[in-house]
Amino acid sequence: MSPTSPPAGASPGQPPSTGKPHAKPVLSVRNLAKAFGSNVVLRDIDLDVRRGNVVALIGPSGSGKTTVLRSLNGLETPDAGTVTFADTATGKDLSLDFSARVTRKDIAELRDRSAMVFQHYNLFPHMTVLQNVIEGPIQVQKRKRAEAVAEAEKLLARVGLGDKRDSYPFELSGGQQQRVGIVRALALKPQLLLFDEPTSALDPELVGDVLGVIQELAEEGWTMVIVTHELAFARQVADEVIFMDGGVVVERGPAAEVLRAPRQERTRQFIKRLLHEF
């Protein structure tokens, strides 16, 4: 198994899924809602992600797509709705109902299931590249140092950063930092990878490297939710595209349909505007 293969923990004995959807989604979100005071940011969001699938969230800024993503990782706490992670290994699902009281332990368990790649990388500046990657596996997952290091080195080599293991983040370009961000997430072996506009902070010439890495992960069968403005990329990697505006899902469907032949006027407007910009 290649070092970046999705964790087998979710379903031992099964090969990593490659696009073949399972009956039961890994992640289901129902009626997610959030408001800051009178400002409603999310209303009745539903989302299903099947194992090995890639879902792209698109939409104008302020549409709530990033809030959805952050809610999945416990970085935002919705006011209502449920988030359920299926656990095919034990059959014991993790389900959080945000309408009820959610404890710190619940949030911690939710975080165990996914890992986030941030728009601004958020690497730990006081740690070397290697330390950034092994921090979670060693400090949180209590794995053996030698094993964590070996795995980190393999992953870094995979994204072309094998020679940067002892560099500090400030010594890297934005594209390299983001690839470290991706490796840091992969090293946790999450069931779900979350990307929050992973290329928005990058210089145009560096975008391709990062998108290439994400595309490879998609091909390997990682389950991912990606917030992005890169429509061409979304069409290439996403199984499903969800267009959000004003805190609601306006349109959803297979990438080719939503992006090439949107049914909703708002989606058409958005895509037209975005394509004009480039």
Binding site: R111, P125, E135, G136, Q139
Partner: protein, 221 residues
């Protein structure tokens, strides 16, 4: 009036010994305790618990709003009247620690707040609790920011320990006073004392530079 060179040279001994057995240990002990206290107070102030943050705010306000000399006198001369009698050394260490705690708490609080919010989130996304994120991610970065202002506090403390002479702690300045009173060479002794304080602070400044350099290794220049 000719300078009494014999006195100049012979008095350096007691002054340096006062520094080594009084000023320096008093400074180190008070600073260490004060820093620990300051971290606690800073975290209390940052906590969402209104009682904790209110208590921390009150403490900082009192410490910063009253003279150190008064604090020292309250502890050494005031407390015995309500039955708490402390020796000069413990009194001095308590007073200076409390004082450092108040000033350094604000420095540490500001340093913690200066670390971008995304660093907490990155800690959380790799599964860390708040405590773990604080210890492994936030405080190491806050430390770098707080070295210059904390060095100021440290250097001030070295000089402030001279106040301990007023509650009978045998340290650099008290030795200078006694020799001055005995020999009547006030100018000589007090300038000597000043010189010894200055040398100590010079050493601390160079220590600060070395520490800053070390902590700056992960920052772009």
């Amino acid at each position: 009036m000719p300078l009494n060179w014999d006195l100049v040279w012979s008095s350096f001994g007691p002054l340096i010994s006062g520094a080594v057995t009084g000023t320096i240990p008093l400074t180190l002990a008070s600073f260490a305790l004060g820093l620990a206290l300051a971290l606690l107070v800073a975290l209390m102030r940052l906590s969402r618990n209104a009682v904790l943050s209110g208590a921390a705010r009150f403490y900082v306000s009192v410490i910063r709003g009253t003279p150190l000399l008064v604090q020292l006198f309250v502890i050494f001369y005031g407390l015995p009247t309500i039955g708490v009698k402390l020796d000069p050394w413990p009194s001095a260490i308590i007073a200076f620690s409390l004082n450092v705690g108040g000033y350094a708490a604000e420095i540490i609080r500001a340093a913690i707040l200066s670390v971008p919010k995304g660093q907490w989130e990155a800690g959380h996304t790799i599964g860390m609790s708040r405590g773990q994120s604080l210890r492994r991610i936030i405080l190491p970065q806050a430390a770098r920011v707080s070295v210059p202002p904390l060095s100021n506090t440290f250097i001030s403390l070295v000089k402030d320990t001279s106040l301990a002479s007023l509650i009978l702690v045998t340290e650099l300045f008290r030795n200078a006073q006694q020799i001055a009173a005995f020999s009547q060479e006030f100018m000589v002794l007090y300038l000597e004392a000043a010189l010894v304080y200055w040398v100590i602070c010079l050493a601390l400044s160079s220590g600060q530079s070395a520490l800053e350099k070390r902590l700056d290794r992960y920052v772009a220049h």
